[in-house]
């Protein structure tokens, strides 16, 4: 990766009860998700990037823009950084209506093409009908969409989103997620996105940074990081992998679509997917069973042949996580130690992975 174009984030911040020590080189495009439990330092790190916190030692560079370098005594204040920030809770100016909230940043950023950027943001987030409403009269989901549009309209070089869905209930989340996916696909602006939801990671992440107690536990392409078994990024019930594939077949009779990915194909329910469409598949470890010979008489239709790369302990002592390589892709399966003993599974064994269910993320 060409480090001059990407995001360079080096931060060392010590508080009485917490220490953040991070050194990251991130790509200049796509969505980088910062994932971790609460208290792992995600928000503090993002605030350092924005200049809302000033770490004692830090280097923040976005592309060619140097925002902080303590060795050169450079610290650009937040308002002079070309960024957009979406806070966890609705942060609209209550004394201004939606239109004036959107205009606030545009007026001050004074960039070419502001009108187009604003129109684009309004269109992208579907808030055209809210322009003359007061923030107090909006629903939580609408407020957050306006907040995102307000940040986007300033045409930032970097968009920071701090758990934009955390303050919303499940229904509202599902209302906003499609907009975020649309943003990821439509925009060129790199995004840093904080979440502690495995679902949001699977849906949005191109790149994944896992934070734990103020330091980086894992960092890399989302698909790779999620497939790791040594210190898994997402443990427990949500453990699973992400597969990127294309729709290769549509079977109208059975209402199924076939998604091809490097290493095989998987049948998924047809939800109006178009041939050739790029999709993400989220396959949870708990939804995969293992068989040592090709299953013949089973209702499970998705069988993938592969080779066991690793077997590690899972959260519960009865269970293990099995890492299976299928072609260029990796699957994780959760099975009991008893099953491993009975089937005599070892590293290097050839097995069949039975995929019981898959979440398709268009």
């Amino acid at each position: 990766m060409n480090s001059a174009d990407g995001l360079r984030i080096r931060v060392h911040l010590a508080r009485s009860d917490f220490e953040l020590h991070v050194d990251l080189d991130l790509p200049a495009n796509g969505v980088t998700v910062l994932y971790g439990a609460s208290g792992s330092g995600k928000t503090t790190l993002m605030r350092c990037v924005a200049g809302l916190e000033r770490p004692a030692k830090g280097l923040i560079r976005v592309g060619q823009d140097l925002w902080q370098d303590d060795t050169q005594r450079i610290f650009v204040p937040t308002w002079q950084r070309n960024l957009g920030y979406v806070f966890q809770e609705a942060s609209l100016f209550e004394h201004l209506n939606v239109q004036k909230n959107l205009a606030y940043g545009i007026k001050r950023s004074q960039k070419q093409g502001a009108a187009e950027a604003l129109a684009g943001a309004i269109e992208l987030l579907g808030i055209g009908h809210l322009m003359h409403r007061q923030p107090a009269s909006l629903s939580g989901g609408e407020r957050q969409r306006v907040s995102i549009a307000r940040a986007l309209a300033t045409q930032p070089g970097l968009l920071l989103l701090d758990e934009p869905l955390a303050a919303l209930d499940l229904a509202r989340r599902h209302e906003i997620l499609p907009w975020l996916e649309k943003m990821r696909d439509a925009l060129r602006v790199p995004m840093l996105y904080i979440t502690h939801s495995a679902d949001e990671v699977a849906r949005l992440a191109d790149h994944l940074v896992v934070l734990e107690n103020g330091s980086v536990k894992a960092c890399g392409d989302a698909q790779d990081v999620l497939a790791r078994v040594e210190s898994p990024a997402i443990a427990g019930e949500d453990a699973g992998v992400l597969l990127r594939g294309t729709v290769a077949l549509c079977d109208a009779h059975w209402h199924l679509s076939q998604v091809e990915f490097p290493g095989g194909f998987i049948w998924v329910p047809d939800k109006g997917l178009a041939l050739g469409q790029q999709v993400r598949l989220r396959v949870l470890a708990r939804d995969i069973s293992i068989s040592t010979d090709e299953p013949q008489n089973t209702s499970i239709q998705n069988h993938l042949q592969g080779c066991i790369e690793a077997i590690v302990e899972d959260a519960h002592p009865s269970q293990a996580l099995v890492q299976i390589r299928c072609g260029e892709s990796i699957l994780l399966a959760r099975v009991t130690h008893r099953a491993i003993a009975v089937l005599n599974l070892k590293t290097g064994s050839t097995v069949w992975a039975l995929v019981k269910s898959v979440a398709v993320i268009a």
Binding site: L52, W79, F87, F93, E94, H95, Y104, R108, R150, T154
Partner: protein, 229 residues
């Protein structure tokens, strides 16, 4: 009995309103930056300055009036300064009265504005900074408009508190008709002179005025609470 107000009474009312209006204006200009500083700073001077700004609230007016009188007098530090500047001595003048009123009503202006700034939290200012607003810009475009209910309360309290003050005014103004004689001291004068009819008119007027102010305040407050979460 004579039920109409004489010239002295009208003078006193006019002077009271003028004094209260000037004091309110000055207070808003002085108290807003002070309240902002108190709401934001982590300086070690915060506590002493906050205590100093609240002191007029608990100090007997006669104590405050006494010190002001001494300070403003020909030999006091303030008196020396004003004489050096060619303004003469402020005691027993309208300017002196104004200065005393401003100091006396300071907490009534600072407290509501400071509360408004504090209840706003840091988030709106942070949001403004992520939208390219400089700190000064954000203060005028976000903090002040959001603190408007607090500013309004401060103005009303300053005005009515200045109208109602007595001790400080008597000490440093001396109740000179047409010059430093305000309504509250005038009433005192009438009572001393057994002119109860005149005292009734002025006292009744004050009562109605004070009630109207409190009524207005509580009516203003309601819609504000609905807006703030």
């Amino acid at each position: 009995m004579n039920f109409s107000l004489n010239k002295d009474a009208w003078d006193a009312i006019g002077l009271t309103l003028e004094l209260a209006a000037c004091a309110t204006l000055i207070l808003l200009i002085v108290a807003t930056p002070l309240a902002w500083w108190l709401s934001q700073t982590r300086s070690k001077w915060r506590a002493p300055i906050a205590a100093l700004a609240t002191l007029p609230l608990v100090l007997p007016p006669s104590v405050l009036g006494f010190y002001l009188l001494v300070a403003m007098g020909p030999h006091g530090p303030l008196g020396q300064l004003t004489q050096a500047l060619g303004w003469g001595v402020l005691s027993f003048t309208f300017s002196g009265l104004l200065l005393g009123s401003v100091i006396f009503s300071l907490p009534f202006a600072v407290q509501p504005i400071q509360n408004a700034f504090e209840s706003m939290g840091v988030r709106p200012m942070e949001v403004a900074s992520t939208l390219r607003a400089s700190p000064v810009d954000a203060f005028f475009s976000v903090a002040l408009p959001m603190a408007r209910p607090g500013l309004l309360t401060a103005a009303i309290l300053s005005f009515s508190h200045t109208v109602g003050e007595f001790g400080v005014v008597l000490m440093i103004g001396g109740n000179i008709p047409g010059k430093t004689g305000v309504v509250s001291t005038q009433i005192y004068g009438h009572v001393e002179a057994m002119e109860y009819a005149q005292a009734h008119w002025l006292a009744g007027g004050m009562l109605v005025f004070s009630f109207a102010v409190l009524l207005a305040l509580s009516m203003l407050r309601k819609p504000v609470e609905r807006v703030l979460p």
